[in-house]
């Protein structure tokens, strides 16, 4: 999100765009959490590995063309994964290209095997969950703590903002 701001045509609207962009998914996630906990109760949520999917599977509506809805949820879910993936993928390639001052192409292709290897690292599903948590924490460090430090550094060195 911070990366795209750098390429905006009207950077002065950045704050508004970022806020709207954060607010919409936030709304959806809050609704999802309330629905899932409301339907399964906290004890039920604790017990299931995939609570949202469990909720979608837990009811059937006869007479509405489709009785079951989990496949639709999964379709949208995969679309969501695809969009987030493309953005982060592009950002990673772009970042590397700028870092090494090279063209972006070789990095776009070069990242493919690396991502594949990283995806193979978690051995079982518990590893995968731990890995997910780690990535989340790393994101917090990279996008919340690091920019602040960099900002401090730049102000100490007296560079132009």
């Amino acid at each position: 999100m911070l990366l795209l701001v750098a390429f905006m045509k009207q950077p002065d609207k950045a704050a508004k765009v970022v806020l709207v962009g954060v607010f919409i998914p936030l709304l959806f996630y809050v609704i999802t959490v309330v629905m899932v906990i409301g339907a399964l109760s906290i004890d039920g949520v604790v017990m299931s590995t995939w609570p949202t999917l469990e909720l979608m599977r837990s009811f059937e509506i006869p007479g509405l063309i489709f009785e079951r809805f989990e496949s639709w949820l999964l379709v949208i879910w995969i679309m969501q994964i695809f969009t987030t993936f493309t953005i982060t993928y592009y950002a990673a390639a772009l970042g590397m290209a700028q870092l090494f001052k090279k063209r972006i192409r070789p990095f776009v292709y070069g990242l493919v095997p690396i991502i594949y290897l990283i995806a193979m690292v978690p051995k079982d599903i518990n590893d995968l969950f731990k890995f997910g948590d780690m990535v989340g924490n790393a994101a917090l460090l990279l996008f919340a703590v690091l920019p602040v430090i960099l900002l401090l550094v730049s102000s100490v060195r007296g560079g132009k903002a």
């Binding site: 399964l40 109760s41 906290i42 004890d43 039920g44 017990m47 469990e54 909720l55 837990s58």
Partner: protein, 400 residues
């Protein structure tokens, strides 16, 4: 120019490959599937097989053995066999197998049927009373909750006698599993049927250790099935504690306010003739109160309805006096039902199946933390007051 045609060719090749990729990955031919629509679980009664397994030296210790019956729909269900009425094949096929854990037993059914058992369309699980009494429900249901093929929308019922009997029917074109599911829809029109309990709902309750109710099915020798009251599952042991009969279940539905419709049969005091009150809406509020260490509850039941039938010929429903009297009589009847079931669940079964604990948890989370562990015991000594308020809104198309 040439460059462009090569590129076009390559693009069309890619598109064509896509077409062939849409194929049948992980497809299952429907003819090869045995669609499971219902499963019943019973405690095994055959003593010989028990001894046999106990006699094996070095084997695992003897456990209670479970008889599982899967109900498959056969090809005839789809309407092929309707023409020749003389030799009508049955619409279902029941297969039983016995073992001490669920999945190995289910897999052993492969030895008996040619089709691949397919659970995606399973609608109902029926657990026999004696099995629910001896084994922890969480253990019995673990496989069904864990398995991805099983849907969490599957219903759960308790059978007072053998569960496999409820999956039997004398009528050839009837599939008992479907019948049971359809029968739970009757919840909307009577207070004697519980709201359908799906695996999802049960899962949380089992985990949190609250007591709850499951619909009870009784099968008679001539192949009839009937919903009769409810089974009480004790939260701590997660085993069957006992049964509530129809009257008691009615009272309980009034307490929880989960009913959508139903009747109250009250007796007119003056004449001794019945007046039938039909429920149009039902609402109940359970209000917990805490004074120091004393917990108490107050139930406020409110309902609107109408007079659906009355045998008091001498009175006219058009008179407000009579309506008030009928309201009073119906209120007293509901109070009697509530009192009776409260006495039963508090003093005989000592289980909180009406959700009083949950209301306490919401209103007084700190108190709940302290009493949570031994809640069913605490609940059995808690004073509960109740207030019933019925309103008769109309009296149908006859004002006599």
């Amino acid at each position: 120019m040439k460059h462009v045609t090569v590129r076009n060719l390559l693009i069309s090749l890619l598109v064509l490959t896509l077409l062939s990729l849409t194929g049948c990955w992980s497809s299952k031919e429907i003819e090869d599937l045995g669609l499971v629509v219902g499963t019943s679980l019973d405690l095994d009664t055959q003593e010989e097989s028990r001894e046999e397994s106990a006699g094996q030296a070095g084997g695992p210790p003897r456990r209670d053995r479970i008889t599982i019956t899967n109900q498959f729909v056969t090809a005839e269900t789809t309407g092929k066999g309707t023409k020749n009425a003389s030799s009508q094949p049955k619409a279902y096929n029941n297969v039983s197998e016995t073992g001490d854990a669920i999945l190995p037993t289910l897999r052993n059914m492969i030895l008996r049927i040619e089709k691949r058992a397919f659970d995606e369309h399973s609608k109902v699980i029926i657990i026999g009373g004696d099995l629910a009494r001896t084994l922890d429900l969480q253990k019995i249901l673990d496989f069904f909750i864990r398995e991805q093929e099983m849907r969490p929308s599957c219903l759960l019922l308790i059978a007072q006698n053998r569960a496999s009997q409820t999956l039997d029917s004398k009528k050839p074109m009837e599939v008992p599993a479907f019948k049971l599911v359809e029968m739970t829809h009757g919840h909307g029109r009577t207070t004697k049927i519980l709201p359908p309990a799906t695996l999802t709902k049960i899962e949380g309750k089992l985990h949190s250790g609250t007591s709850f109710l499951l619909q009870n099915v009784v099968s008679s020798a001539n192949g009839d099935i009937k919903f009769e009251g409810a089974a009480v599952i004790e939260g701590k042991t997660r085993k069957l504690r006992g049964f509530l009969n129809e009257k008691e279940l009615e009272g309980l539905t009034w307490i929880t306010g989960e009913g959508k419709g139903g009747l109250v049969k009250s007796v007119d005091k003056k004449t001794g003739e019945p007046i039938i009150y039909e429920v149009l809406s039902m609402k109940s509020k359970i209000k917990p109160r805490v004074d120091g260490n004393n917990i108490s509850f107050k139930i406020e039941i409110e309902s609107e309805g109408r007079i659906a039938e009355h045998w008091v010929v001498s009175e006219k429903t058009i008179e407000t006096d009579f309506l008030k009297r009928a309201e009073k009589a119906a209120e007293e009847e509901v109070e009697r039902l509530v009192e009776h079931v409260l006495d039963k669940i508090q003093h005989e079964y000592k289980t909180d199946v009406a959700g009083f604990g949950n209301k306490l948890r919401i209103a007084y989370p700190h108190v709940w933390k302290a009493v949570k562990k031994d809640w069913d015991q605490t609940f059995s000594e808690v004073p509960i007051r109740y207030e019933v308020n019925l309103t008769i809104k109309d009296y149908g198309t006859a004002d006599e």
